[in-house]
Symmetry: C2
Subunit: 544 residues, 2 copies
């Protein structure tokens, strides 16, 4: 429901429009799920506060609800529902509550549709009781969605003031239809940055998403709401999108698992993102964020098992292949040599070295990759490809709402770059991109690699607006390679000394931030990548 | 070897350059394989002459060589070589001879490398004798290649006068490397039209390819040399390329089987076509032309079984899936309603109706498709996408040689179209293309189709320069759907009356021309398409 006062955006200041929208969203939360002010008063962008325990301790969730939301991953939870250990309804209520709490602490939510979710869960319970069958492999599983996915009856504003007056959507995105057919329960959509082209999840409608590990840290972006929500276990399986790292950046920032598949393996069509359609540049991908590694594969197997190409013509008709677990030790390429323009922070280096050592101790081969294709050059071309739209459609939506561009877009020159590209330049970009892929191909084949391990970013999570360029995730969108994030270790001020005197590293401020390993595969070999990465995750867990 | 008189193209008229190149090519044919003048004198563009019997009757091939070239398809021939029924060497010699004869009758060849082929075949024989193993699944099989594929030590001129002075290639195209690793014997490259953007296989270097069924007919294009060569059984498995029908048009014109896969399933990289690299438009595909349906699948299984993505980064890492033969009758959509701009000729309609009846009699369901997405509109956008290169690189190569554009490019306004597109227009084209795919998706799903059957063109083969626009093949490049050609029946002046008074149809002139059915599948479902089409081919053969 959009109030009539919003019907003419021009006559109302954008601040009022945004505030009214936030109030409407807040009012969707049942009063008994609202946190007392002694919690919410502490929610600020500079609050040094780890809020991950609050859902367990605030008293809003019952002990059973805490158990449901904390002790299961998606694979285990669908099994528990199938075995009638829990009803879909109680699972839905538990996650609705926990998401509501998470949203109040981290601003990770945009739209909530708790009543619909609980009603659907009841229907699923009835179906199971009557037929003794589950509706599908996701029967009863709550799944959260980035705001850019359309859900019937729910608005898609993607954080634009100018979209706040738009009516609720009348159709689902294809992936949403598919998830529902597979039995999922949808209950919330999650926050993201203005235009989605930023690793800082800030917009003028829903505000800035905060990192649950420390509210004064950025949660990453653009799927920052998902990262924060999954980190709070307000969701155990969320869907984000990624064109430069937007699934992986929140995953590594918030300490959760994330996977960016090869483009178009998971249906991305029918997004309500407001971007210009028909873009010939780098294609964004949809993919999962999760609390366990196996849930990444579960999501992929299940979604692709549902024949997404029958829902979305842009989804590739490539069935999921069962890959046998590796019988032999892995051969891993380690990208440990940083691009000089993007030096690694000490905790990032330490986590990578530790992972390498652990993997070697487990019998896997790790080859240090040297003379890899230039990352800086790839970043340059990729940013050109992000600016192919001569109409700058994304920013026009900002202008239309009377609001200002967010800080990080200004900083990264992603607002009105003043550079207009031509068809000629696109031919050149495509050639450069193909050359980059060819050069990496040679690295893969010469070294007979199963996967590449490397940092996902040069930093850990840190103060808001400090993330900077995301070269180490972006290159895999540029190369269209599948890549996942495995949380591994934490920044430790006592060990991660700033011995190279990096100006933008402060050991005290990021103490305790999640570290992570990025594992990268070859294009369209998502199956092989997840198989190798599952082994890596399993080995690294041993140490934790 | 390129003669020194060609070293400065500017100083020699293009006619002399072309004539000298043709002479060099002719001299590559051993004298004992050259046809007497009472044959070659009859080779003209207006000669009403079916030359398909000449290889058998001219005395150049022995009885055993006639048997080798006429009585086997690729599947049977590799089995015969494996079982030592024939040596690779005698197979190579037989096909070199037959190709040489075919080339003299139809101008289907560009480069020949008979000595290299026979030497390689001897090596393969030695390998088999010594190891008792075949080199690969194509051990000893002669495979012909469209001239655009690069072969080390051989020129790639693609019919441009300006390329005649270029040195022989120093590397193979990735597909060539793969075919060699699989055990194939390469022996000839085949003729094609200037720029490859024409269904008339004419260029100023090698001249016009003629249709073996009747030299006064066009062989189709752009892989017209392959169509003519396979029709002559100078090759039983050839590789062409297709961006608007260039595999399927020669197949239907010359009465052979042809398959255009989904783009990038067969490696297309490393072509020496002279087109501008980095083109964001419709991607051309490589694929087979063959004398049996099962050889199309054999080619696909074998090539994709060889992991082409390890040879060519543009080849998709999607393994070939074994599809079980259909247990139930097929559900076929029949596109029998012509686009008013492109009316079907009587033999085309009769062949389609006959196929439908035969399929229905065999128990398959055929649904007439109505209100399909506009073919004319798709053709308009597709031709825009063929002209994205503002530098008009293909035509610059024509200009550089001092030669003229060929007639069919002038006719179809494909020389210097005078229209320059922008990045903005590309966004719009991509949207229109996506809409076309979505609309077809709906047709597929609403009708629960296994495949679509339809004509491959509105006409059969006919006089040179009469082919016209290829809408019925082009739309499947636009939609990136796999599509194959099954030869079926022949034009018959006594039955194919011009009852609608079509101005460009003359029953007498095309009497005896091959007819064909095009069978179309869904994007990336090449396996499902070939499975359905194999059943169709099998049913239709029963009637023949």
């Amino acid at each position: 429901m959009v109030s009539t006062t919003l019907s003419n955006v021009q006559q109302v200041s954008w601040e009022i429009i945004a505030e009214e929208k936030r109030l409407q969203c807040y009012q969707q939360i049942p009063p008994e799920w609202r946190l007392p002010s002694h919690y919410t008063d502490r929610v600020t962008d500079t609050s040094v506060w780890d809020v991950r325990d609050v859902p367990r301790t605030c008293g809003i969730l019952s002990t059973r609800e805490v158990e449901i939301t904390e002790n299961f991953d998606a694979v285990a939870l669908v099994a528990a529902i199938r075995e009638c250990k829990f009803t879909s309804e109680e699972v839905a209520i538990a996650f609705c509550k926990r998401a509501a709490v998470a949203g109040q602490l981290t601003r990770c939510l945009t739209e909530t549709f708790f009543d619909d979710a609980i009603a659907r869960a009841k229907d699923l319970d009835k179906y199971l009781e009557t037929t003794k069958k589950v509706k599908g492999p996701l029967h009863g599983l709550p799944i959260s969605l980035k705001d850019s996915f359309n859900v019937t009856g729910v608005q898609t504003t993607v954080g634009y003031v100018s979209f706040v007056g738009n009516p609720p959507k009348t159709t689902n995105s294809p992936l949403v239809d598919l998830l529902l057919d597979l039995g999922a329960v949808l209950y919330v959509k999650t926050n993201l940055p203005q235009t989605q082209m930023s690793p800082e999840s800030m917009n003028n409608v829903f505000g800035r998403v905060l990192n649950p590990h420390n509210l004064s840290w950025g949660p990453g972006g653009s799927s920052g709401g998902e990262g924060a929500l999954v980190s709070m276990r307000g969701s155990i399986l969320g869907v984000g999108t990624d064109v430069a790292g937007s699934i992986r950046i929140p995953s590594l920032s918030c300490g959760v698992f994330g996977f960016k598949p090869t483009s178009s393996r998971v249906p991305y069509g029918g997004q309500g993102s407001g971007g210009r359609k028909g873009n010939p540049g780098i294609q964004a991908c949809a993919g999962p964020l999760a609390t366990s590694f196996r849930d990444l594969r579960f999501f992929m197997e299940t979604v692709i098992g549902g024949s997404p190409w029958n829902y979305d013509v842009t989804a590739l008709a490539i069935p999921w292949r069962k890959i046998n677990h590796h019988e032999r030790p892995l051969v891993l390429g380690c990208l440990s040599e940083e691009d000089p323009a993007y030096p690694f922070h000490p905790p990032v280096i330490r986590a990578l070295n530790s992972a390498v050592q652990t993997l070697q101790q487990a019998g896997h081969t790790v080859k240090k990759l040297q003379k890899v294709p230039s990352i800086s050059d790839a970043v340059t071309i990729a940013f050109q490809m992000f600016n192919l739209d001569t109409e700058n459609t994304a920013m026009q939506h900002v202008v239309a709402g009377g609001e200002s561009p967010i800080q990080s877009l200004e900083t990264s020159n992603m607002t009105f770059p003043g550079q207009t590209f031509t068809l000629d330049s696109l031919f050149a970009m495509n050639q450069a991109r193909n050359k980059f892929m060819e050069d990496w191909q040679k690295v893969w084949l010469d070294n007979e690699l199963d996967a590449i391990i490397m940092p996902g970013h040069r930093k850990t999570a840190g103060p808001h607006e400090s993330y900077g360029h995301p070269p180490y995730t972006l290159i895999w969108n540029f190369a269209d390679s599948p890549a996942c994030i495995i949380p591994y270790e934490k920044a430790d001020a006592s060990r991660d000394i700033n011995d190279r005197g990096l100006a933008d590293y402060n050991a005290e401020i990021v103490h305790g931030a999640p570290c992570a390993i990025q594992v990268v595969g070859r294009r369209y070999q998502d199956e092989e990548l997840l198989s190798a990465a599952e082994e890596i995750a399993s080995v690294l867990k041993v140490k934790q």
